[in-house]
Each structure stands twice: as C-alpha cells, then as structure tokens.
Homo-oligomer: 211 residues x 2
C-alpha cells in the first residue's frame, strides 16, 4: 500500500523534483542543520517557495511552524516514498558509451539501485568489468535474471535492438524497464516502462531559447 | 516573437512530448501518409487521445474534420515551434563516457543542433576526434566560442568542475547551457539553463514500482 492510495495522486512533476530536494537535505544533514525554510530551498533550487512547499507537503514532510521543514524527517519521508531506503537489484543491457556512463554514476546506490550485472554482445566487452560491474553475453540474460531473481532492467541498447531484448526480458519475468533507447516499447499490462528521451530535454531548451 | 507570446503558454509536459510526435510524423511522412487520427497516435505513444489532441492543437497542428491531423503540416508547425527547422551550432564540454554517448547520438542534426566542437582536459582525448567532432583543450574554450560565435553549450563534466566551467562560458557570452552535471548552476539573468537529472527519471520509475 503506497502513498498513492492513501493520499491524492502526487504529480509527475513533483516526483521528478524529489531527488533534487533529497540532495539538498542530505547536505544540510551533513552540516548538522535541523530545520530549513522554503525560502532557503528556493535559493538553492531556483524554484518558487510555493512550489517547494506544495511538493514537500505532498509527500508528508514534517515541518515546524514559522521555522521550516525538519531535515532528518524530510529525508526519511522522501526516501520512503521513493523506496530508496532499500536497495533494489538491477542490471543493464547495452554496455556502450551511455551504458558505461550510467554504470559509472556513483549516485545509484544512494537512489535505491544496485546494478549487479551488465550485458552486451561485443566480444571485446563481454567478460570484462566496467566500474566494478561484470559484463555478460546477452545470450545469458534469461538464465541470470532467473538465478538472481532480478526485476529491474536498464535498457541502453540501440533502437533497433530494443523491442527484441524487451520481449526476452518480459518472458524472463522482469517487472520494470528503464528505457534509454529512442523507441516506444510494447509490453504486456503490469510491466512498467520508464522512458528517458534525450530529445525531450532538448525540446525544453529550444522552446526556452525561442521565448 | 514566439508562439509563447501569441498564444497561451504551452506546458513543459507538452513541449517534452513534441519530439515523440515528431518522430512518428516523420515516419508517417516517409510512408506517404497524409492524415493520422489521434486514436492511431494513441496506439503508437501509449498516451490518451485527448492528451495528444490538446498537445497538437496547442502548437497549432492543422487537422481535417473527422480525419485527423495533417502529417506534413504538423511536422512543419512542431519544427517551427522548436526552432528545429534551422541548425543551431553547439559544443560539448567534457568528452567522457556521457559526452561520447551524446556525440554519438545521430539524432541531434534532426533536432536543430549541430555539435561543432568538444572540450576536455585529458591529454589522451584532446586532439582526437569523437564521432567526427574534434576535441580541444578546455583552456581554448573562450577563444573558440568567440571565434565561432557559439551560443549553446552542452555540459557533461563532473559535478565539481561544473560551476567553474559555467563561469567561463558565461564570461565568453554563452546564452544557453544544457547541463548534465548533477549540480544546480548559478548564472546571471538572461542565461538559460536546462538541467538533465538522471535521478528524476529514476524517481518516476521507483514511484511507479511502489504503486
């Protein structure tokens, strides 16, 4: 039972801003700060104080009247909301440049994600380790997913390979796919796909440039 | 004078979906299709027909009663809206894994962006070409920006280097920064920063997983 059912639906926009708040709260916590105002958070994030207040109240961040949000308590509710208080095992398919960049992103462990394996088809890469993660041949996908009981896949393969790999992943029982390939995947109901589209960010930038 | 001033403000969500529509319309155009219904677009995108209708009407996509949107005309209005009918020269700072992945993304030229130079400090990389783009030393940033009259920077440096580089870019007259470093940049008013935060996508995925 998640917050989604207990409270009113939290917007995607709010969810996407949570990691940014979390990073700031971690920092404040390191420096021993116990409270922080939305005005201070606004300076850090360049967001409006009212947006910050609404976001944090939506996830139930504890606050103190006229003093701001409680640092430790807010970290706890955001982590719990995102499930980042536990580590989920994940693996990556496609260990090219983008895949390597993601494997090198040290932040994942703070974000509830432990990448335990990578897969590729290139003979030069298979058998190596990248940022401490072993690269297996894609032919071993189904057996390793089953053996390790993996549920989350990060997909960084070329567009033309993405649907084929997805079919293999779904057949092997994967529950969530974080898709970096520039293609819409077809999956059965119940399988979650989170699509990252680099051109969405570029569209935002270009729209701002034209304003 | 942009659409932003002539019509009511178009939401960030809509803007972020435009590249996805554009890809589908390019495909339809290749196959000689002249009209497409929002129902067909809904199957392709897994979005609701009403969302698609609102998005496309917001940018002024031409349509034919009970037959759907005009393919060629819709491509034209989206490209114009995003400024993707012209090529903007851009450059990339930080030619590591993520930088290389972006340089290898063939899609940019279809998205109004021509990456004309890359910058790094590593002696092994400086002087080479990556995906056909020459890598210069970061010390040459200011002079090359001025010489080539560059306005758009793609920032793929480590977090700790990002603000320093940004100050150099701003001093050299850069107007827009597409920031992939996990840090909030401080820039003077008038300089556009578009932040890509990998953990925002992960937060969305995790929130869906917990539902």
């Amino acid at each position: 039972m998640s917050l989604f059912h207990r409270k009113k639906e939290i917007s995607v926009q709010t969810i996407r801003r949570l990691p940014q708040y979390l990073r700031i709260f971690y920092n404040l916590h390191t420096y021993g700060r116990e409270l922080v105002s939305s005005t201070t958070l606004a300076e850090e994030t360049q967001l409006l104080p009212i947006v910050i207040k609404k976001d944090l109240q939506a996830v139930g961040a504890p606050s103190k009247l006229r003093a701001g949000f409680k640092v430790a308590g807010t970290i706890e509710v955001i982590e719990k909301f995102l499930g980042w208080n536990n580590l989920n095992k994940a693996f990556l398919v496609g260990a090219g440049h983008l895949g390597s960049a993601l494997l090198g992103f040290a932040g994942f462990k703070n974000h509830g994600l432990e990448i335990v394996a990578a897969f590729d088809t290139h003979p030069e890469i298979v058998g190596n380790s990248l940022h401490g993660v072993r690269v297996y041949h894609t032919a071993q996908l189904a057996s390793i997913i089953e053996r390790e009981n993996l549920k989350i896949a990060i997909l960084t393969v070329p567009a033309e390979a993405a649907q084929g790999i997805t079919d293999t992943l779904v057949a092997a029982g994967i529950k969530a796919i974080w898709n970096f390939a520039p293609v819409n995947l077809t999956v059965p109901e119940g399988v979650i796909v989170q699509k990252e589209d680099i051109s969405s960010g570029l569209a935002e930038l270009c729209a701002k440039l034209k304003r």
